[in-house]
């Protein structure tokens, strides 16, 4: 399997240039901000309910629903900005730098190229998605909720992390496809950003519609699928959704790369 050779080279580029570290740093920093703001809100609510002598309301507060789920839900937006940067160079740089000729005349298939690059960028996005695991660990280490005495419930956390990663993988596949479709990294990033942004605004459009179109647009957007996962609901249809987006994009990327052999 030559895909692994490609993947190794790509990972090497991520980590020998500043791209990888800058990406991890920026993502960790921004997720940290989201965590702190959710934590502040949690503290304010706790103090407010305490001062109002409302133990019933205090019991509704827990780490998962009040801190982690909002943090993960906002965090999902982050990939909209990170993934285009991660994927834009994958094929576009090879083409503008003329190394594409090396890859296309080496004894490797188009699938090796596409899967190798997907493995590398996919590994990066999974690592990104894993960073926020630090926050529930901090919560668990330092506290329990005053209302219920409960700490972090882990199964929704795993589900949230897993669905964030699945979302990231499907975005990477789309970015890879766009990068294969153009010689320009900027163009690849803009196209990817445009498609991903579309995914996020579809539910807003759907909200104004009724009937079948509403159902279709809501299904097409990743927002609802990932939201359920973040809330800890693992549904087969959501897994199928992300797998379909990923596989279809990889398939198209392979077709685009292969088509260079026919021009």
């Amino acid at each position: 399997m030559k895909a692994w050779v490609i993947a190794r080279k790509e990972l090497g580029v991520f980590f020998t240039t500043a791209t990888g570290y800058a990406g991890f740093g920026a993502y960790a920093f921004l997720m940290g901000l989201l965590f702190i703001s959710a934590l502040n809100r949690y503290q304010q609510l706790t103090q407010y309910y305490l001062s109002q002598q409302r133990p019933d309301l205090l019991e509704t507060l827990n780490f998962n629903d009040t801190i982690l789920t909002p943090m993960f839900s906002s965090g999902v937006w982050m990939f909209l900005f990170f993934v285009p940067f991660l994927t834009m160079r994958l094929f576009a740089e090879e083409k503008s730098g003329r190394t594409f000729e090396l890859l296309m005349t080496a004894p490797v298939t188009s699938w090796d190229l596409v899967l190798g690059k997907f493995l590398a960028a996919g590994a990066m996005v999974v690592m990104l998605a894993a960073i926020p695991v630090a926050f529930p660990l901090i919560l668990e280490a330092y506290g329990t909720a005053p209302g219920t005495g409960s700490s972090v419930e882990w199964s929704p956390v795993w589900s949230a992390l897993g669905f964030t990663a699945l979302l990231g993988l499907s975005f990477v596949a789309i970015g890879l496809w766009m990068s294969a479709s153009t010689d320009s990294q900027l163009m690849a990033a803009l196209l990817t950003f445009g498609i991903l942004l579309m995914g996020y605004i579809l539910p807003m459009i759907a909200g104004r519609l009724e009937g079948d179109w509403r159902v279709v647009l809501e299904y097409a957007s990743p927002v609802n699928h990932v939201s359920r996962g973040i809330q800890g609901r693992v549904l087969l249809e959501d897994l199928v959704y992300f797998a379909s987006i990923t596989l279809a994009s990889l398939f198209y990327a392979q077709r685009v790369v292969e088509s260079h052999r026919w021009r």
């Binding site: 030559k2 050779v5 490609i6 190794r8 080279k9 090497g12 580029v13 020998t16 240039t17 730098g97 003329r98 190394t99 594409f100 000729e101 090396l102 890859l103 296309m104 005349t105 080496a106 004894p107 490797v108 298939t109 260079h260 052999r261 026919w262 021009r263």
Partner: protein, 254 residues
């Protein structure tokens, strides 16, 4: 070196090769055959279709019409068999600026399927042959154009291919480097089993390293013979032969 058992099969066989782009025809109906062990100069003015032909031979792009066989394997039907046997230096060396020379050569060696146990020795051999062993740990971004060209050459030599296709291998080099690359090519060509096709628009280059010349102009083959026969037949220096044939071909092209 991986070798086919039958030396009688031509190393490269091209029949009726035509490549038409959207707005112009780059090469028309090229046919030639190169035997195993030959060192052939592919000569022609800029824009004659040399690079296009080489890109088709290496399987980078398909022809509009015609067939290419490398050691009997059709480049469209068995591309992997062809690619395994061919080392190719494109017009612009296909190097990654953010990699070190040795890192790059290791990557290409793995791509070409060099075994893990032989990787280090194979990379060292190719780097030594192309004269880049002493800059192995430098970033390609920081080496001169001439060295990038030689790194590209080292890459083509990995996996010890039986057919070498070199697209203008001395472009951008200084006179000393040019002489070094030429002597390397002569040395590589001295191996009777290795076939080399190199393109150039510099007449001295073919004179210096090639036994046979295929001259193209305006997308046609205008001459295909040994260096001696060509100059004898036209009773002129290669410069004059080249100028005469190129002009005739340009006129003949609509």
């Amino acid at each position: 070196m991986t070798r086919d058992p039958t030396p009688s099969v031509p190393a490269i066989e091209v029949r009726g090769l035509t490549k038409a782009y959207r707005d112009h025809v780059a090469i028309r109906d090229l046919s030639f055959s190169i035997g195993a062990g030959e060192v052939v100069g592919f000569l022609g003015p800029n824009g004659a279709g040399k690079s296009t032909t080489m890109r088709i031979l290496t399987g980078y792009m398909p022809p509009t019409r015609g067939t290419v066989r490398v050691r009997g394997h059709d480049v469209l039907e068995e591309p992997m068999e062809v690619k395994r046997r061919v080392g190719y230096l494109p017009e612009i060396p296909p190097v990654y600026l953010d990699m070190t020379v040795v890192g790059y050569l290791r990557f290409v060696a793995r791509l070409k399927g060099v075994r893990r146990s032989e990787l280090r020795a194979e990379v060292e051999r190719a780097a030594e042959q192309a004269g880049v062993a002493h800059i192995a740990d430098r970033l390609i971004r920081n080496v001169s154009k001439g060295y990038r060209q030689r790194v590209g050459l080292a890459q083509a030599l990995l996996h010890d291919p039986e057919v070498l296709i070199l697209d203008e291998p001395t472009v951008g080099l200084d006179p000393i480097q040019i002489e070094q690359v030429r002597s390397l090519i002569r040395q590589l060509g001295a191996d009777q089993r290795r076939t080399i096709l190199l393109s150039t628009h510099i007449l001295r280059e073919v004179e210096a390293v090639c036994e046979r010349i295929i001259m193209i102009a305006g997308g046609h083959i205008v001459a295909d013979d040994t260096f001696d026969a060509l100059t004898r037949e036209h009773d002129a220096s290669l410069e004059e032969v080249f100028a005469r044939l190129a002009v005739t071909a340009e006129r003949a092209t609509p």
